[in-house]
């Protein structure tokens, strides 16, 4: 047998990016299940549709870019993006909305920047943010919780955007919507006026807890380090707690902030994106804190009820700067600054 000439190391842990991606997909399942239980089949239909689109577009662009299609297609990153988009979009998203989100994620946010590993922005969040700005009405159609569509109705809505009684009969304001647009009322008054707020909050809590469970699973298998998600949750909780302490009538509590909207989903599935985030562990902490603060500011003072897409894209922009200032101290160095001596 011919002896190979290879560079060390000759051994490998045999860990694989594709396996990592598969774990991420698996970890979304509890959240997917709970979300579908409360909101119906919309997310599932979107998930299948988005996955097919993502794989197709990924293969198409890889082909156009003359890259080995199978090697990159099997890394699973396109599928992860598709899952994240489908989970983030409202269950009432029609086919074209998902198509636009996936198109901008895969083609524009990822491949036009050089493909996996080179994208400065989180692809799923780019697709989401574009839809949020371009189609604000479609992006806020969350189903009312008391009455979910059956599969046939959902299927019809997905393709035709027609539904018995009109869509308004089937949608309801989310907890964050209600708490954001209080029309000068205190939170207690809002709760009294809107009996569905309590239900909405508890549904939101279950969804968030499901994503938290998935996230903890990923932490347990070292899919990522704790730094970014925990820092984000801590800073969001801290800001919310601080304001809630001052004016409990106006500002929702920390636990309400942590367990509504996309908090846990973003903390463990978006903020942890290594490609578009900060590099070092110290940097990840800064990144997470930044996301938490921005989310709180936009949720509380901005015009959007939830804010993860914007907060994360803004922090993606800051990631290179964070990297510059958070380099770890190398072995034997006095400070984190380089003291390289010119030559080797």
């Amino acid at each position: 047998m011919a002896l190979m000439n290879l560079s060390s190391p000759h051994h490998h842990s045999l860990s694989k990016t594709s396996r990592l991606m598969a774990w991420v997909l698996l970890a979304t399942l509890p959240g997917l299940a709970v979300q579908s239980y409360f909101y119906g089949y919309g997310t599932l239909i979107n998930l299948v549709w988005a996955s097919g689109l993502a794989l197709g577009l990924e293969a198409l662009v890889l082909g156009l870019r003359r890259r080995p299609i199978m090697i990159f297609l099997t890394d699973g990153s396109a599928l992860v993006t598709a899952f994240l988009i489908a989970l983030a979009l409202p269950p009432f998203s029609p086919w074209w909305l998902t198509l636009i989100a996936v198109l901008f994620s895969i083609v524009f946010a990822k491949h036009l920047y050089g493909g996996l590993g080179n994208n400065p922005f989180n692809p799923a969040m780019v697709g989401y943010a574009i839809c949020l700005i371009a189609f604000p009405v479609s992006m806020t159609q969350w189903p009312a919780i008391e009455q979910t569509l059956n599969f046939g109705q959902q299927w019809q809505w997905f393709w035709m955007e027609s539904i018995d009684g009109g869509i308004d009969a089937w949608t309801g304001a989310t907890a964050l919507d209600l708490m954001r647009h209080t029309n000068g009322l205190t939170l207690n008054e809002v709760a009294l006026d809107n009996p569905q707020l309590g239900l909405s909050l508890s549904v939101s809590m279950w969804v968030n807890l499901a994503y938290l469970a998935g996230g903890i699973g990923l932490l347990a298998i070292n899919a990522f380090t704790w730094h970014a998600p925990i820092a984000m949750l801590a800073s969001l909780g801290f800001c919310a707690g601080l304001f809630h302490m001052g004016e409990p009538d106006l500002y929702p509590s920390a636990s309400q902030h942590l367990l509504t909207g996309a908090t846990m989903f973003s903390a463990f599935f978006i903020v942890t994106d290594p490609v578009s985030g900060a590099t070092s562990r110290k940097g990840k902490v800064v990144f997470g804190i930044g996301v938490g603060i921005l989310v709180f500011i936009i949720r509380t003072f901005g015009s959007y009820p939830d804010a993860f897409a914007f907060a994360i894209l803004l922090m993606n922009l800051s990631a290179p700067l964070i990297d510059t200032y958070t380099r770890p101290k190398a072995y034997g160095h006095k400070s984190s600054k380089s003291s390289s001596q010119g030559d080797l």
């Binding site: 051994h11 490998h12 860990s15 493909g115 190398a330 030559d343």
Partner: protein, 653 residues
């Protein structure tokens, strides 16, 4: 119990040590031929001191160290020097280098040895001399000449013995410690004696319980030697990592352990020091692990330095047909060899004959997603993912700025990388390029200096010449000035010349005596020539002054303007006179040239007349040429005379 610290990062690859650590060290019989590379160490190659055909005894010096950073080489067995030839060296590059080839005679006959009976009586320099003479280098891998570390410039308070053997598969040190624990302890005491009795810490991974027990037993009498059991984690056997584990201190960047009062020696080196001092034997053998699925008799072998890989593989019953990768060293930092005739050297601690799929298969690597697992694993606390980007995009300055040079190439990052990127290879590439670029930059710097020195020299020479010329010009000007001062009435030459003409004219008017037109013409010509020369000189001086930004420039500028006017006037007078006379200087020149040519032809013909074979013919030619010359002379004279006659009719009348 001593506190055991931790170092950043590290990985836990499968240990794979049991394949080879179960059996006692097997002494391999002397092979028929040994090939000893002259450079088995870091530093300068040794110089062969034997000739082809010489008989050498086992242990005889055959190549001597060149300078401090070099090491002696001894004959590992008795026999004849067969050749001094190039052989492929045990290195990733598979380059060949000079080797001494010995045909062994099988007698294995030692040269006379002089073991030390009572080492306590030895002075430090005696000890150092013995170690140096024995050709001892670091047996852990780098092959750093051993005596250098043992004469540190700093006070040493801790001697760290590296017995971690953290690389998977390798068990050479493990077996050595189990079987030679007493010798190792004595060796440590010798080194302690050399370093003024520092505390000795033996760092050994917990996965070697037998070796730990053996060392603890051997060292139980000595309170100054402590066996420190450390957790199994790769690369705890890296010198810097082991020091941090045992002392909690980091070796400062760019420094050596001695900077923080530490000397680190590999346990194998200690055994070699024991052999050198207590047995008088130079370093001619070592323990090498042969392992891997292709090795039927995996185990540890005592081999002579210079044994060819093929001989050892045959002795260990390695089935080469099953091997796809032959690694010299461990799977994490070892390098592959393709030629089994490569000799084993002092630092060859393991041959890993891996069967197909035993080691990581060669995989297409995926994109880096900056997952950061490499950063978590890096024992040098670097950002491997960033270094990868910089190496890939050849941004070497950034790579250096991210401390690429602190990378110890342990391979932990590549081992964990889920995208299976050969990170270490990228770092080696970047380091190599940076080294090459630095060399190029240095060479360019030398070239630039040489060029600048040459330019400086040339310009110095030029300005010296200029200076001389200036001095001369100044002297001349001063002389002129002096002359003028001596004769204050002297006017400037142009005016004087013109004045002379006017005077003549006036004289003609008053006395009515004719002025010779030749005189007047000559005077005008002189005036014009003088003015031309002065103009030229002044403009040159002005150009100089302007170039040097001299303050006299404006003065000179005025002078030049005045001179230009004067010169123009002089030229105008001259040409007016010429017109008046009907002189045509251009035609005159043509005529003069024709005459000169005729003269030349005539001269040549006269010369030829002396040697010509046909003098009559030449004579005829001469006559013809003479007539041409006469015509030319005549025409010229006519031309010169004619206008004069026209201009001065008074003369004729």
């Amino acid at each position: 119990m001593r506190k055991i610290w931790d170092f950043h990062g590290g990985v836990h690859p499968d240990e794979n040590k049991t394949q080879s650590n179960g059996l006692a060290i097997n002494v391999m019989p002397t092979p028929k031929q040994l090939a000893l590379p002259l450079n088995q160490h870091i530093g300068k190659a040794a110089k062969a001191i034997v000739d082809i055909g010489d008989y050498v005894f086992k242990g005889q010096l055959i190549a001597s160290a060149q300078g401090v950073l070099s090491a002696n080489i001894h004959a590992p067995s008795s026999g004849y020097i067969k050749a001094l030839a190039e052989r492929i060296l045990p290195h990733q590059s598979a380059l060949s280098g000079p080797c001494i080839i010995i045909d062994t005679d099988g007698k294995d006959e030692w040269i006379e040895l002089s073991p030390v009976a009572n080492p306590d009586s030895l002075t430090k320099s005696d000890l150092l001399n013995i170690i140096q003479a024995a050709g001892i280098v670091g047996l852990g891998g780098a092959g750093f000449p051993g005596s250098i570390k043992l004469q540190p410039k700093h006070a040493i308070n801790t001697l760290v013995i590296n017995a971690a053997e953290c690389e998977p598969y390798i068990t050479a040190d493990d077996r050595l410690m189990r079987e030679y624990a007493d010798e190792i302890i004595v060796g440590i005491q010798l080194v302690q004696q050399l370093l003024d009795q520092p505390k000795c810490l033996i760092g050994i991974e917990e996965n070697k319980p037998e070796a730990i027990a053996a060392l603890a037993t051997a060292a139980r009498q000595n309170s100054n030697i402590e066996v420190c059991v450390i957790p199994t984690k790769y690369p705890s056997g890296g010198e810097k990592q082991l020091i941090e584990i045992l002392t909690g201190n980091q070796v400062p960047q760019g420094g050596i352990p001695a900077n923080i009062g530490i000397v680190c020696q590999n346990v194998g080196t200690i055994k070699a020091i024991f052999d050198a001092v207590m047995l008088g034997q130079p370093l001619i053998k070592r323990i090498t692990t042969v392992t891997g699925k292709a090795a039927a008799n995996a185990g540890n072998y005592e081999v002579l330095i210079g044994t060819e890989v093929a001989d050892l593989l045959a002795f260990a019953k390695v089935d080469l047909s099953q091997t796809s990768r032959l690694v010299l060293g461990g799977p994490m930092m070892g390098f592959t060899i393709q030629d089994t005739n490569t000799p084993l050297v002092k630092s060859s601690n393991c041959i890993l004959a891996a069967a197909d799929l035993e080691l990581a298969p060669v995989a297409d690597h995926h994109a880096c997603i900056r997952c950061g697992q490499c950063e978590v694993a890096c024992p040098a606390e670097l950002l491997p993912q960033q270094l990868f980007w910089f190496a890939k995009s050849e941004e070497f300055e950034k790579a250096q700025d991210h401390n690429l040079s602190d990378c110890i190439e342990c391979g932990a990052c590549a081992w964990v990388c889920p995208s299976q990127i050969p990170l270490v290879q990228y770092y080696r590439f970047a380091k190599g390029r940076i080294k090459a670029l630095n060399t190029e930059a240095q060479q360019a710097e030398v070239a630039r200096e040489r060029f600048e020195t040459r330019e400086q020299r040339l310009s110095d020479e030029k300005s010296a010449k200029e200076e001389k010329r200036k001095t001369r010009a100044l002297a001349a000007a001063a002389a002129q000035e002096a002359k003028r001062a001596a004769n204050p009435n002297a006017e400037d030459p142009i005016a004087a010349a013109l004045a002379r003409v006017n005077k003549l004219k006036q004289a003609q008017h008053t006395t009515n005596s004719p002025i010779l037109p030749e005189d007047e013409y000559k005077a005008l010509k002189t005036a014009a020539a003088i003015s031309r020369t002065q103009l030229k000189k002044t403009s040159k001086a002005l150009a100089d002054a302007l170039a040097k930004n001299h303050e006299q420039a404006s003065d000179l500028q005025q002078t030049l303007t005045a001179l230009t006017a004067k010169a123009a006037a002089a030229e105008a007078q001259l040409s007016a006179y010429e017109t008046k006379l009907g002189l045509d200087p251009e035609q005159e020149k043509t005529l003069q040239a024709a005459l000169a040519k005729a003269n030349g032809v005539l001269r040549k013909l006269e010369q030829r007349l002396a040697t010509a074979a046909d003098p009559e013919q030449v004579k005829e030619d001469i006559i013809a040429a003479k007539s041409i010359q006469e015509t030319a002379t005549h025409t010229l004279a006519q031309h010169q005379n004619n206008p004069r006659a026209k201009a001065i009719p008074a003369e004729e009348s």
